[in-house]
Symmetry: C2
Subunit: 207 residues, 2 copies
DNA sequence: GCACAGCTAAACTGCTTGGTTTAGTTATCT
DNA sequence: AGATAACTAAACCAAGCAGTTTAGCTGTGC
């Protein structure tokens, strides 16, 4: 990444700071992370860090935005509009679930939820650059198949949100409140499969 | 409440402490709440507070357990097994949604999510005395109507979790990440209605 | 009216934190 | 080589925190 020149802030070690902050924030959360830790992890002096960012909160916002954006981008490219729902939904659902269940996805979600009340911008940024993009992309896909007559949906946005929520069933709460567990790939498939069945039983056009 | 005598810990002002801690923890979260604040809110000296609870974390656990238990109990009594799904699901769904959307429900959820990684007991206690009880009660209801032939479900627990998740669509993320908004009773009904439709289209036995 | 358990305000300890400053070192550009 | 901008380690500051201690007050039982 050479496009440092396009950054608003300047400095040779900018990327190091971003990387270090990412690591520490994701490991310890916002309150849990100390600026000293971040500086140490980034192998940078605190003074340098503070020359890039005015305070801890702004640094965190930067990281959160980068991360969620990255998440949504990765998902965006996975939907193939030329394939029908029966084949796209299972793989897309699995992709979504896999990300949400990753240590990464869980940590970002935790922080967004925890800090969302005190710092509304965090909540906004997280939603706008993560879940919202997924919803938009998915509902666009659904709309195209509604037009082709393979689906019958009056509110595609709502349907998209319902599908995502159905994929989260059981495993997300389990991970959130019962801690990490075994990989469980079969169980993930089962959940997604059930979500797809439920979804298509209602919105699918029966032949 | 006179049954103070049945408490493990003793002291005249125990209930005051609980009430104060409840207020402050729900307002500021775990890290955000200071013991001084709690003592002030409870109109009690810090020394008294520490005579009841060995440390801040234990006090918090006590509050969290009380709150989630209270939530589930309130719900438990609302399901009438003698009425069919078409009538029970909408009202039960609306009840669940109303609680989850309350300032109260949101605050408890936020704390459970935020603190769940560092203090797994908090996550466990929250899940066991909240969502889990709701799931159990709901799946028991569903099972009874499966037996009567009005529903066709092979995994009732999964179905119960799916229904709850469907009720949370849109409004919970909105509240979590976009802040509080207008009452929106009509929108709530719409979401629940759509959840019921989706649910019954798949699991309902068509006449 | 005495004893005792519960309570109190307030000071205090020890520690961590975000953020600043200083005085000096390193890299980069011409 | 010299100038300039970026970086550094380390000390420092002020504030906030959990938890303890002290020295004394209050209410209740007998």
């Amino acid at each position: 990444m050479i496009q440092n020149t396009s950054r608003i802030k300047k400095g040779r070690k900018f990327d190091q700071v971003i990387a270090g902050a990412r690591t520490v924030f994701l490991r310890d959360g916002f309150e849990g992370a100390s600026v000293d830790d971040i500086a140490r992890e980034a192998a940078v002096s605190k003074a340098t860090l503070y020359s890039y960012f005015p305070d801890k909160r702004v640094l965190f916002l930067e990281i959160a935005a980068l991360e969620t954006r990255r998440q949504a981008d990765a998902f965006e490219e996975r939907i193939d509009d030329t394939h029908p729902p029966e084949v796209v939904l299972p793989t897309a659902g699995r992709k979504i679930l896999d990300f949400l269940l990753s240590d990464f996805g869980i940590a970002v979600f935790r922080i967004a939820v925890a800090e969302g009340e005190r710092f509304p911008e965090i909540g906004h940024k997280f939603y706008d650059s993560g879940p919202r993009l997924v919803k938009d992309r998915l509902s666009q896909y659904l709309a195209s198949w509604v037009a082709q007559g393979a689906l019958t949906i009056d509110d595609v946005e709502l349907a998209a949100e319902q599908f995502v929520e159905l994929c989260k069933v059981r495993l997300i709460p389990k991970r959130l409140f019962q801690g990490p567990s075994a990989p469980d790939s079969a169980e993930r498939d089962k959940i997604v499969e059930s979500a797809v069945a439920l979804f298509l039983a209602c919105y699918g056009t029966r032949p």
